[in-house]
């Protein structure tokens, strides 16, 4: 199996590399900056890319993963901001680039960085304990009838999970008490241990406990179902999870996973990384990873990416404002 994959990788590398960037390539080890803790979704993705780049020889210099998850990821943002002109650092970004500056007044603006590419979109799913209600309707009814509000576990405060909780409250009329944990993994085990009634984890964060039959996916917060149809548990695939809209709760949210360089790098340097991550998206490692974690594959760069970011920023800003999470 290995050899054909390598051969394909090398072939694409040859095809793409020759004319595109004769100009620049890294002369120092390249750092993938992760704005989250060890073992989280960003870290896993960074390690997948590290492995994909190394195994397929996509770059001469070694690549290292550096975890800058301090201050809920703000550490990574400030680190990228201060790295102006340094082409050996790439940030793997997610919605925190819009939300943190609003909620915690971090002096950061993603427009100061150099966009490279959007490489995936991450879903959110409403989960409950497998001993809990079986459908969204039953869940909402139970939440409304409960004496104490249902506990909703999530990652961090005033971030995507919290926003989704607020919108779930608005659309259903049920009340939740939101418990901000440090990571999605923690939110998953707390749901399994019955310390919370539900969470809105990404597919990857709840995958293992779902396969073990400990939690139940109720609906996915997207306008269409997840496309992967191979069985994940004995009976269900990702595609079997209904959308929340189908179930009568019209709440949608998708989260970007995108690569950024620090500000003020040259166009040649930017071009090198656009090609590099394009090649990463062609590897078997990337494809396996996308399916396993139920991520939406996407590859945007250049003008398309900037347009996407501007629109996404506007959406997030209005959600945050509506939820009342923007710091005065």
């Amino acid at each position: 199996m290995r050899i054909p994959v390598k051969a394909v990788g090398a072939a694409t590398a040859l095809l793409l590399s020759a004319p595109a960037f004769a100009g620049w390539e890294p002369t120092k080890p390249v750092e993938i900056v992760v704005a989250a803790g060890a073992g989280g979704a960003s870290d896993q993705m960074a390690r997948m890319m590290q492995a994909a780049i190394q195994k397929n020889n996509l770059m001469k210099q070694p690549i290292v993963v550096s975890l800058k998850g301090g201050a809920s990821g703000a550490e990574a943002l400030m680190y990228m901001k201060s790295g102006e002109g340094d082409p050996n650092k790439v940030l793997i970004a997610y919605s925190l680039i819009y939300m943190l500056p609003l909620s915690a007044k971090i002096p950061f603006n993603w427009r100061e960085l150099t966009p490279v590419s959007v490489i995936a979109l991450d879903q959110f799913v409403l989960w409950d304990n497998s001993a809990g209600p079986k459908t969204v309707k039953e869940f909402v009814d139970a939440a409304k009838a409960a004496a104490a509000p249902f506990k909703m576990g999530g990652t961090g405060s005033k971030r995507e999970d919290h926003v989704l909780t607020v919108f779930l409250e608005q659309k259903t009329g049920a009340k939740f008490s939101y418990l901000p944990y440090k990571s999605g993994g923690e939110a998953a085990t707390q749901l399994v241990g019955n310390h919370t009634e539900s969470n809105v984890n990404n597919p990857s964060e709840n995958l293992e406990v779902w396969r073990a039959g400990q939690v139940r996916p109720l609906c996915v917060f997207d306008k269409e179902r997840i496309s992967y149809t191979s069985k994940v548990t004995d009976t269900q695939s990702w595609a079997d999870i209904p959308t929340c809209k189908e179930e009568g709760v019209d709440v949608q949210y998708l989260m970007l996973r995108a690569m950024f360089l620090p500000g003020k790098v040259t166009p040649e340097q930017q071009a090198f990384y656009v090609e590099l991550f394009h090649k990463v998206t062609q590897t078997a490692e990337y494809r396996d990873y996308m399916e396993k974690q139920a991520l939406k594959p996407i590859f945007l760069t250049g003008k398309d990416m900037v347009q996407f970011l501007e629109e996404d920023d506007a959406t997030n800003k209005s959600l945050m404002t509506e939820a009342g999470f923007v710091a005065k």
Partner: protein
């Protein structure tokens, strides 16, 4: 018996020349990174992780976990010889280990540390082997109130059982809690006490503080007192090792108690640090002459090392079974597992038997080989003490600085480390204990988060800490320990503890 068969299967997976060689390489590398102060297990494993990408998962995890064991053994070396704890849980080892080294009993202290590490991890591995499925369901019982109760227990046992003046312990602990609050607050999503500085965003890293508080302040004190590191009697042989081992049975209660505490706290995620402190405090409390602790008592090395390693080892269990890393190193191993396509979780034990039992078997082998390896090299490490202080001191300062820098690749941390060096020096001069400060710095944040999450969940009702048998008994025990001096005095008046009181005077 099923576990036994599976374990044998694990050994069969393991016993190939390739794996054994990787194991030795891992152990040697681990001891090496463990000896450099501040570099420690997490960094060592992180640096070497990419090397293993091309290996098969079992070989890779065996090598990485051996680096981990090596680093654990190695970490004790710097704690004892230089008063610089490499990992959070080595802090308690310095309390008696360092005085022993100063009295020229370095070899004895090192032997004691290595042996008790071995015993602690052995007990934990046995536990993992036979109780794995039960333990993972126990760990699931821990929600925010239970976590808070455990942290409360640790804090209270410090105040109640410590021999230092209570007000000094409380002051020191409060300062630690205050500094633990710097940075992002997870519960509200707001920044606290950062004063607009980007450097303070990530908060005060515990290891940076520890390197300064213990290592740098020690250098300052030694300089002031013009003392050389006294290591003349450090020339040891098999004789010292055997004499320590001969005395082992005398300390069986301490060893057993610490193993138990270690295993119990290890499987509650994040409890490893609390374990070493608690093991030490309890050994002190139950000793016939508690005053002699902190002045170079061998039990003061046995107790925290056994507990730390029992918990360090059992902390791998929640990582494998639930995907919750119990320590920094476990978190990096977790990242590694994902790269090799193994997802930690309840199904790992079912779907990847080879891997899980290979790893457990490697814990047995790695510990035995590691113990032999470190014991045979004790004379080399102990001989560092015979080098003139003027030559060693600059090297220690440099490696402290490298260690502090390496944790987050931040120059600011080196200044922070020096600042904490001065703080540590002042604390020692005015006789304020450093341990409560360090403890509060490590656990402060988690305790606060756990408390606030409990309050959100219960709607502000404190009764949640007595809402079930588990959390209720831990909370009650914590309060009893806090009030222990008063209870002790009361019992003494009735005449119950007369005997211990007279012997202790």
């Amino acid at each position: 018996m099923e576990a036994f068969g599976l374990l044998l299967h694990g050994f069969a997976v393991l016993l190939t020349w390739k794996t054994l060689v990787l194991m030795m390489v891992g152990l040697v590398l681990g001891i090496f990174v463990g000896v450099l102060p501040g570099l420690g297990g997490p960094n060592g494993v992180a640096i070497l992780l990419p090397l293993t990408f091309t290996m098969d998962p079992t070989s890779a995890i065996v090598m990485l976990s051996c680096i981990y064991w090596g680093a654990l053994f190695g970490g004790a070396i710097t704690s004892i010889l230089f008063n610089i704890p490499g990992e959070a849980w080595s802090v308690a080892t310095t309390f008696d280990g360092y005085p022993m080294a100063q009295q020229g009993r370095a070899a004895e202290a090192l032997t004691a540390a290595f042996t008790s590490s071995f015993i602690g991890s052995l007990v934990a591995v046995l536990l993992i082997t036979f109780l794995a499925p039960m333990i993972s369901s126990f760990a699931l019982k821990f929600g925010p109130p239970e976590f808070f109760a455990v942290y409360l227990l640790t804090f209270c046992s410090f105040v109640g059982l410590g021999r230092e003046a209570k007000h000094k312990t409380v002051i020191s602990m409060s300062l630690g809690l205050l500094l633990a609050g710097v940075g992002m607050d997870t519960v509200s999503g707001q920044l606290r006490m950062t004063f607009g500085s980007a450097e303070l965003l990530r908060g005060i890293n515990f290891l940076v503080a520890v390197i300064g508080l213990f290592g740098i302040s020690e250098i300052l004190l030694t300089m002031e007192e013009r003392l050389a590191l006294r290591g003349h009697a450090a020339s040891i042989s098999l004789r010292v090792v055997l004499s320590v081992w001969k005395d082992l049975p005398k300390y069986w209660v301490t060893l057993l108690r610490s193993s138990f505490i270690g295993c119990w706290l290890g499987i509650t995620p994040g409890g490893a640090i609390a374990a070493s402190f608690m093991g030490y405090n309890l050994a002190k409390r139950f000793a016939k002459e508690p005053e002699s602790f902190g002045k170079g008592r061998i039990e003061g090395v046995f107790a925290p090392e056994t507990a730390a390693h029992a918990s360090g080892t059992s902390a791998l269990l929640p990582m494998l079974a639930l995907g919750i890393p119990g320590s920094g190193t476990a978190a990096i191993l977790l990242g590694g597992l994902m790269v090799w396509g193994l997802n930690p979780g309840p199904l790992l034990f079912v779907e990847h038997k080879d891997f899980v039992w290979g790893l457990i078997a490697s814990m047995y082998l790695g510990n035995v080989v590691g113990l032999v390896l470190v014991l045979t090299t004790v004379p080399i490490f102990a001989s560092i003490l015979r080098v003139p202080f003027a030559a060693v001191a600059p090297m220690i300062v440099v490696s402290c600085a490298i260690g502090a820098y390496a944790i987050q690749n931040a120059m600011f941390d080196i200044w922070l480390m020096l600042g904490f060096g001065v703080v540590g020096y002042v604390f020692k001069k005015i006789g304020t204990p450093l341990a409560p400060f360090t403890l509060a710095l490590v656990l402060g944040n988690r305790a606060e988060d756990a408390f606030r999450l409990s309050m959100i969940g219960s709607g502000g009702d404190l009764k949640v800490f007595w809402s079930n048998g588990l959390v209720g008994s831990i909370t009650t025990l914590a309060i009893v320990l806090l009030c222990w001096p008063a209870i002790d005095a009361l019992l003494g008046r009735v005449g119950w503890t007369q005997r211990t009181r007279t012997t202790s005077r």
